[in-house]
Amino acid sequence: MKQLFCRLLLGLLPLTLWGQASNPVWFKAPLAPRLANYEIEAYVTPEEHTLKGSLKLTWKNAGTQATTKMPLHLYLNAFKGPNSIFMREGGGSLRGDRMGDENDQSSWGYCRIESIRLEGRSLQGSYGEDESVYWVNLTRAVSPGETVTLEIEWVSQFPRVFARTGWSDGFLMAAQWFPKVGVYQGSQWTCDAHHANTEFFSDFGTYAVNVNVPRGFWLAHSGEAITYIDPADGLKKDAWPDPLDDKRMIYKLYAEDIHDFAFAMKSNLDWKRRDFTYRGVRVSLFYEPSHHLMIDRHVAAIETSLRLAEEWYFKYPYPVLTVVDPPANASGADGMEYPTLIMAGTSAFDPFNFRIPEVVTVHEFGHQYFYGMLASDEVNEPWLDEGFTSYFESKVMQRHYSGLLNSRRFQLPGNFSSLMSYLMTPNSDPLTRKGYESATYGNTAYTKPDMVLQQLEARLGHQTMSQVMMTYTREMAFKHPTHLDFKRIAERISGRNLDSFWSDYVMGTGILDYQIEEVSVLNTQEGGWDINQKLEAEFEPITTLMPQGRIKLQRRGEIVSPITLWVRLSTGEERKVRWDGKDRWVHFDFPAPIVQAQLDPDFEYPILNNRLYASWSPKAPTRGIAYWAHMVMSFLTYGLQGIGLL
């Protein structure tokens, strides 16, 4: 009897603790204007791929005018059927991933609003551009500076994992899963439909999220889990017992100064976890058991990213970071970022040591800054998050890993993918083009901005660019920066007018393309009739002088920039001349024949379109070419011999 009583007491203890659990405080003073604060109760039924939820949205009007409407993102409605804007634009494919069988209803998803209430009154509304945006008619105008609380009940049906969100076997990635308010600035709402290419834009706030799941599931999530000491075994636990159902448990999660919230869940029987702390950040890494060989690489990538981001920008301020390496059959969820949560991507085995897992992890971590804390509008200016993050990724890969591949004879530099993509479509859309309007989205959002920022760095110098980046990130953190904010800060720090740079590279579609067109030898002579002062004609024999060198340069692109030419003459003398680059053609003469020439020898223009014909020598460097020709041919011959061609 005494034992039974003790057990009852022990059993009730967690419930008592549950009642006492309070949200932790991350920051003594808010880092961001907390305009959209959410308290969410979510009940997940994994076998049905559904989530039933209720939330309290406390929203503050930070605009300059009152509003009588409030738009909500219902992102999951992008997967409702083939007629959503998302599906029409993407055709069921995104980032190389394809949606599930379209005839299977479980491939599709939706977000269904059940009720919306304000101050006890039920609200109505209507869909916007498509069903991924719902405009709520408020019962009254909400004045600037006023705060209102909406109570919303909804049901989310997750699609088969595709385009960041959904389920796959026992894995669920809950992203864009709850009704989320748009951004009100001045007198204008920004709440775009869910487009195929573009991502998101939201206000900062606090999140208190209770997720009710069946026992045995692990949650990898944004924010921090509120833990308790289980009296039964004395262990610290983050999943609380559900007082109403002993087969379920509740994760009580909390976060401050973030603008989105996501979680992934999977059975703890076939999911691994590694926890570690680096520079005061508690990192939790969730991964597939078969991916265990890659985990040290992920850890190193996270530590490197945390260290370099702190060195270059500012210290990662949140106390937690969660990394998920999703299963192979949930590749639609990988390579994505959410505040304090990143989705990595890897394979079980990497025999050639390509730095792909590192690239993904570093890139997604970079988004903690360029999206997470510098919350730019990803729909209308996608380059501010993807491009800046690609720039961060290139620099990290070069500085810490010496490139994407660093073998004895062949290297892929950190900016290889950006350079390749940029050079293949150098005159792609202006960087400021809206994401969903751009025909060259991948180039315009990711790779061209990386090259443009490298070009800016070459223009301003490494030190100045470092200061620009540090100032930009610090001043615009926890705000909604635009490209004009970046330009303003870059001009202020560098003390230079960047109008022409902006018109050429950011707003323009032109290319920087100079090349050596011709190198020749001028055979000069002197002599002939000479009329002296006495007007007497005197014939001097024709003599040949020392030959001169001439080089003809061409500007092939639209962008005009001064460029340096280096030459070595047959006398051994080296010279550098600066061309203003304005004319289409120009030639320079030198006192002796040219034996070597190079345009842009100091690499002032990483973005230069043609480096093949930016150098010249009378003799071809054959040895290296012969080496690679033999390597390629031997590989082919050995392949044919390998298959036993008889």
Binding site: P289, S290, L293, A348, F349, P351, L404, L405, R408, R409, F410, Q411, L412, P413, N415, F416, L419, M420, L423, M424, E517, E518, V519, S520, N609, N610, R611, L612, Y613, S615, W616, S617, P618, K619, A620, P621, T622, R623, G624, I625, A626, Y627, W628, A629, H630, M631, V632, M633, S634, F635, L636, T637, Y638, L640, Q641, G642, I643, G644, L645, L646
Partner: protein
């Protein structure tokens, strides 16, 4: 009363039984032609590639200096500049050049023809085109599908290794993934070889009997043929990757290093060609033995009856 001694000579032998005999080098014209064709493919192919790439870099009585350090270090960015910069590069053909395609195709034909000449010469017959090309059709009919099925079975059995999570197992699975398709292609090549040699040895049987016999010759000794294919492929691949690894280590920082690389690669090409020659000869020995045994049995039957 006559008695027959049971000896190896009068019993059908598997393909491994003739390996030793096949290894004996015969310096016939056909042997030399077969091996030199392979060497020609390596050298002429590399020469034409080199010429093409030099062409693409050439301009204004000179050349780009982009490839200046390629003998020691090649950057992916250089390749992008090369591919992007050259105005003529629009597809693979323009990248490798029509000379390379024509030359390589011609030498490949020469390799196949010299292999066939070698086999025909062993049988004292002329290397007619008809059995060679018809043998190819035979091998496609009786060998293609079974080889695919065999490959599917073998890869299915070994694919699970990949997911065990142990590094040696993953390496083993990776090597097997490369080796298996090569070995199976080699296995099918032997089927083709059997079909064409059989057409020379016994050209008058019905087509159905011919196919049945050729199929039977491989599948009766499936373990031996498969192990021969896998082991000889493994040997060729090991030699090849060894040469490539050495070339990778040495680079071409000096002309001597480049010369050594070429010598090693030619040497391995000759060794591999020697192994392939051995397989060609082995098929002839194997089929000759089969025919000898069958003929002896037929004679015996005739004498008994």
């Amino acid at each position: 009363m006559e008695t027959f001694q049971t000896s190896n000579e009068y019993s059908p032998q598997g393909p491994w039984a003739f390996i030793k005999k096949s290894l004996i080098p015969i310096c016939s014209r056909e042997d030399a032609e077969f091996i030199l064709s392979w060497v020609a493919l390596t050298l002429a192919g590399a020469w034409s590639l080199k010429s093409r790439w030099l062409d693409l870099m050439t301009y204004s009585n000179g050349s780009s200096m982009l490839a200046q350090d390629w003998g020691t270090r090649l950057s992916g960015n250089d390749l992008v500049y090369f591919i992007k910069g050259s105005p003529t590069i629009t597809n693979v053909e323009s990248w490798v050049g029509s000379v390379f395609i024509l030359l390589s195709s011609g030498i490949l034909f020469l390799i196949l023809r010299s292999g066939w000449r070698l086999q025909a010469h062993m049988l004292g017959q002329s290397a007619r085109f008809s059995p060679w090309i018809k043998g190819l059709g035979d091998a496609l009919i009786i060998g293609f599908l079974p080889t695919i099925l065999l490959g599917w079975l073998l890869s299915w059995l070994t694919d699970s290794l990949r997911w065990i999570g142990s590094l040696p197992m993953m390496w083993a699975a990776f090597v097997w993934t490369i080796l298996l398709p090569m070995a199976l292609t080699s296995f099918w090549m032997m089927q083709w070889s059997i079909c064409r040699v059989q057409r020379l040895l016994e050209p008058v049987t019905s087509y159905k009997d011919h196919l049945r016999f050729c199929f039977y010759m491989i599948w009766k000794n499936i373990g031996s043929w498969l192990s021969l294919a896998i082991m000889s492929t493994a040997l060729r691949v090991a030699l090849s990757y060894g040469a490539l690894w050495m070339a990778w280590r040495w680079g071409a920082g000096t002309s001597a290093a480049l010369g050594s690389v070429i010598l090693i690669q030619v040497g391995v090409t000759i060794l591999n060609a020697g192994i392939l020659r051995c397989l060609l000869v082995n098929v002839v020995h194997f089929l000759s033995n089969q025919h000898f045994v069958l003929k002896t049995v037929e004679d015996l039957k005739r004498r008994v009856l």
